[in-house]
Amino acid sequence: MAQKKFVVGCFDDEATLFPAVKQVRNAGYKIKDVYTPFPVHGLDHALGMRETSIHTAGFIYGITGTTTAISTISWIFTKDWPLNIGGKPHFALPAWIPIIFELTVLFAAVGMVLTFCYLCQLAPGVKKHHFHKRATDDLFVMVIECTDKTNADDLQALLKTNGAVETETQVAEDGWWFGTYDKEDDLYNQKQLA
């Protein structure tokens, strides 16, 4: 957990956001993230983010589920406790398919949800800094992390010329913490929302 310096630019329209993202990236800055009130189609692509690997993870979880189901059921019904059910063979694959399918889906679904939460650092009680309160309301909030070489004023000016309605420099917690928000950071105590 470390305090870092960020430049924050707020936009009120998708149409200005996209060219701004392009300009800021062309100027050589690395955008940490853009916080939006709703999912914006194509923004991940514009930000140059790599494709998510969660589907590969999902496939692996699914295969794990399939293997678990097949090995467990076949061990139970052929080795551990063979039963004669309606004269069917002990290795009765068609009867197992629904359970194999269910376990595949269960493993893939639960595994992907947990992986997603881990990658996004989401969990009950986990808190992260809000760069702008209105990111959950109507503003598109672009955050750029400052390095030693970054001139925050230049960057703010660049954001302004590209249509940002509000810019500021913040020193804020970069990662997550467990516990509560400080009073001035707590969304529910904000005057704007009261």
């Binding site: 589907h55 496939f59 309606g86 069917k88 068609p94 009867a95 398919i97």
Partner: protein, 409 residues
């Protein structure tokens, strides 16, 4: 839109190929007709007419699936397929053609009293048989003929109406009110087709045409199964034509985004087909009642075992594993390959549905089957290309076209 190629000119090579396929296939068909079709041996007759039946029914249902695609998309007000809807429309123009051939074949079988194909045609045997006697209200020549005629006529007619409504989008730009009225009109047109489709393909027609070959046996899954089979093959056919047209430099407004969605249809409905296949098989296997297992006995344990498992590999495992990745669905070569594989796989599926019941002892897959297939492929290529050439390739004033151009997944 000046740079868009709206007019399809049939390439000479395509025509040559189509005529060659029709020639080779037609020769096989005629040879088969004289050596087997008009033979006095019931086995040979069943072989020939069965082969003709599953080929015509397969291709009619596949081409009808293209119109089904247009109609359900219209009903859902989907826009993404507008940029290549003319391909699906062109394929659907084959419904009257293949429908007529199907009708002729079925009439020959029914009126010619081929009771070794449809056992229920033998009136004396039916009256002595309590099971068939119970089905006589449905399985009788009069109902078969009336319902088949109605079905093929209305498929053709409602399809024709949809294509006509589609052509209205070629004429002039629409203002908001005209576009709204046009949208409603298309949806009503689609509604007629969809209702009739539900009453035929999704229920009665597979029972009548295919399931009644095993007159004693029945499965409530059968019609959905047949529908899934023909639909996924139809989607593959549309995708295949889309790839061909893109290769020839047409369909500039369609790109890998549209192909991706076709790929999703092929992938999803391959799994849907497997789901129905399994639901039908597993319940019968589980209950293990002789009058039900009779359908699977020679398919799983007899001569049809290789075909039976090939069916599952080609129609389930191959699409599942190959089309799962996003990049595969956006890859034109891989999609073309998989479209051919799926079409072939479901042709094999129809083969085992019909011939598996007619010739239980041995698998006769050979020159006659591939010859008749060649003939139908040739006719399909030629007629679809002609239908494509007869109309602009883009419904350029369609209210949803813009949404289709900017479509991305």
């Amino acid at each position: 839109m000046a740079s868009i190629k709206e007019q399809f000119e049939i390439p000479g090579t395509l025509k040559t190929w189509a005529y060659a396929l029709i020639g080779i296939g037609g020769a096989a068909l005629l040879y088969g007709m004289f050596t087997k079709g008009f033979s006095t041996d019931e086995h040979e007759q069943a072989h020939f007419w069965g082969t003709l039946m599953y080929n015509t029914i397969f291709w009619t249902l596949v081409c009808n699936a293209a119109m089904f695609f247009i109609c359900f998309s219209t009903m859902a007000q989907a826009a993404w397929m507008q940029s290549f809807r003319r391909i699906a429309e062109a394929i659907s123009t084959l419904v009257p053609v293949f429908g007529t051939i199907t009708f002729a074949v079925l009439m020959f079988v029914v009126l010619g009293h081929k009771h070794h194909i449809y056992h229920w045609l033998d009136h004396e045997a039916v009256m002595k048989d309590p099971i068939l006697k119970g089905k006589v209200g449905f399985l009788n020549p009069t109902f078969f003929i009336v319902w088949t005629t109605l079905t093929i006529t209305l498929w053709s007619y409602f399809g024709y109406r949809m294509r006509k409504i589609s052509s209205e989008a070629d004429v002039a730009p629409m203002d908001a009110d005209t576009a709204k009225a046009y949208n409603i009109k298309s949806m009503v047109g689609a509604g007629f087709f969809l209702v009739w489709f539900g009453l035929t393909v999704a229920s009665t027609i597979p029972w009548l045409w295919l399931m009644s070959i095993d007159a004693h046996w029945y499965s409530t899954m059968y019609s959905w199964y047949t529908f899934a089979s023909s639909f996924v093959a139809g989607m593959s056919l549309v995708a295949l034509w889309l790839i061909y047209m893109k290769n020839k430099g047409y369909m500039e407004l369609s790109n890998s985004e549209h192909l991706h969605d076709m790929g999703k249809f092929m992938f999803a409905f391959s799994i849907f087909w497997t789901y129905l296949w399994f639901s039908q098989y597993m319940l019968i296997w589980y209950a293990n009642i002789p009058e039900e297992t009779v359908y699977f006995k020679h398919r799983v344990q007899g001569a049809y075992k290789p075909i039976f498992f090939l069916n599952l590999i080609v129609n389930f495992l191959a699409p599942l594993l190959i089309l799962m990745k996003r990049s595969a669905k956006r890859n034109f070569t891989l999609m073309a390959l998989m479209a051919v594989v799926i079409l072939f796989g479901h042709w094999i599926d129809f083969y085992q549905m019909v011939m598996g019941s007619l010739m239980k002892e041995h698998v006769s897959l050979g020159w006659l089957d591939f010859g008749v297939l060649t003939f139908f492929v040739g006719v399909m290529i030629l007629m679809t290309a002609r239908a494509l050439a007869s109309k602009p390739l883009i419904a350029k004033y369609h209210p949803f076209l813009k949404e289709s151009i900017i479509h991305h997944t």
